[in-house]
Symmetry: C2
Subunit: 334 residues, 2 copies
């Protein structure tokens, strides 16, 4: 007997990415006088990419153009452009407008450009919303772009975040495709406010406005209470997954692929310990890209597709945790 809530004929048609210049942990350790091997040992990151001249908008536009080209589309075929990310070029206008303006055909198309922000889960939320909005009529194709520059908001004296984070952009064309086997099965998010400030950039918004709080690497950099986050995740994740799968025909242990947010080495270890996944079931790019905020999940999905470890027909769970504190996931047949 099928328990599944009705699936929807939604298909990830194509993906693109842009990665700025690579920086090995060896080079990073030398640059900031860290002990050799520290990054890999504590963050599990061997290499990350770091933007120099690139902006969020420019990287996102390059990723978007690659995705469109692979999909055999142009921006004219896209009914909505969603930026799903936690970092941005300007406080105003919204990031999607900047990405669109940086794209070929950006001026010629009047595609609505909208931001969705649930920090690290922004891509998952955007995909969930896109799947709900796509109807094959007014909305046939939606382009989701997650372009993140984490490196600017990093305090170099905080080795944990310095070695963990990376920059990069991923773009995804999602379409209403009733003639295909691909489908959207379910999406769910929960925000647990007890952890609201476990992940924080304290300065730079209205609370500690820049006028009154000049630049201070503590105040204007990413702060992460790693231990508390792990504790919260450990307590809340099993229940989330139980509820998530309860009304579906699937189980966490038997889905073909899990694409988690690449939060941290300890996060990945906790995830494995909690659920005892089969070898190869959980996809990872942490060692190669670091934690790229909302771009991590689509970059990891794209890497798994490109290497053939996720194939058409596979049941995939894209899931993770985010600042706020939230857990979220989308289940789909790729």
């Amino acid at each position: 007997m099928s328990k599944t809530t009705k699936t929807k004929p939604i298909r990830i048609v194509a993906m693109g990415k842009y990665l700025p210049q690579a920086m090995s942990s060896e080079a990073l350790e030398k640059k900031h006088s860290l002990p050799a091997g520290w990054a890999m040992k504590y963050s599990g990151v061997q290499n990350r990419h770091v933007a120099s001249q690139e902006s969020n908008g420019w990287m996102g536009a390059r990723a978007a153009e690659e995705a469109l080209q692979k999909a055999g589309m142009t921006l004219h075929d896209i009914d909505m452009l969603i930026s799903g990310g936690g970092t941005y070029d300007y406080p105003i206008p919204n990031q999607a407008s900047v990405i669109k303006a940086e794209m070929k055909d950006g001026n010629a198309c009047h595609t609505p450009a909208i931001d969705i922000d649930s920090t690290c889960l922004s891509f998952v939320t955007a995909l969930d919303f896109a799947a709900k909005i796509l109807d094959g009529k007014a909305y046939k194709n939606i382009l989701i772009v997650s372009s993140e520059i984490a490196s600017k908001g990093i305090n170099p004296t905080n080795w944990e975040t310095l070695t963990l984070f990376g920059d990069g952009a991923a773009a995804t064309v999602v379409s209403y495709a009733p003639e295909q086997a691909s489908c959207y099965i379910k999406g769910m998010q929960r925000t647990y406010s007890e952890g609201v400030y476990h992940t924080l950039i304290e300065g730079g918004g209205n609370r500690k406005f820049f006028k009154d709080y000049p630049y201070d690497p503590e105040l204007h950099s990413f702060q992460m209470k790693g231990k508390q986050l792990l504790k919260l995740t450990k307590r809340l994740l099993p229940d989330f997954m139980e509820v998530f799968f309860a009304d579906t025909d699937y189980a966490l242990a038997t889905v073909d692929a899990i694409v988690p947010h690449q939060a941290s080495k300890l996060g990945a270890a906790l995830f494995q310990r909690l659920f005892d996944f089969a070898s190869g079931q959980v996809k990872t790019t942490l060692a190669h890209y670091g934690n790229c905020i909302a771009a991590s999940i689509p970059l990891t999905l794209m890497a798994a597709i490109d290497e053939g470890s996720i194939q058409r027909g596979d049941i995939c769970l894209l899931a993770g945790t985010s600042a706020g504190f939230a857990i979220g996931g989308v289940l789909l047949r790729y």
Copy 2:
């Protein structure tokens, strides 16, 4: 013959607001040594509200609690909390998470908390998305909160923005309500990238990061190319409205109420000149609240409902322009 695309049984159940302390134009002119009468003459604003100790999150939470109380609901009844705004307390976490954490029951409920940002159109976009997502099953009630503090990002030497903007929060409970006559008819947005930087806060994001660009009232304040914006609007708005109404049973000239973004005095005059609306058809709060970014449309809708000039059954168009540059609207039967 009905041309209308299928309507959806969506109802704005209740609204709430929070306005910080009022500041008359007289007081503002005195404080900043402006000529008496300048504000009303050039901005059309007699009074605005200015946050002092209040934060975006706190104001949003108070507005949300009023809306919930009027709806006879608590946060436990809400399936998603959307923050639809252009200003924020912190770069991370997202604003919806902060609003939720500031609410009574914030810790007890695990309501997903998601930001939608299309700057001044954020409420309209959030309402459009909410209408599409509400299904009477997983999503019965969605709470949209637009809480804006514009006053921090204002350059006091720029009289035009100094006198125009105001702070405030509005909250809206939107529900799937098949037993009611209320319905969602249509939503549409177009982003015209030629105007992407006509409205801009240049500093404070990754492009001109704090670390490299110390506070400068020019760089970290709201800049508006008023003339270019009016020119673009004049050229693009008539076509937008024609396309918007083409496949509906309604016409701009005969809808019961138009709730526009309270962009500026000249914007309002242009809107009237372009379409020659009937007296009372277009709602305004510009003189009382100023331009409250994304909170302007819901605050104006709420004022019209409270004074009885919008009543149940009325066909209402909520529409406006935003940074990016975009035009957007939602048509509904209240």
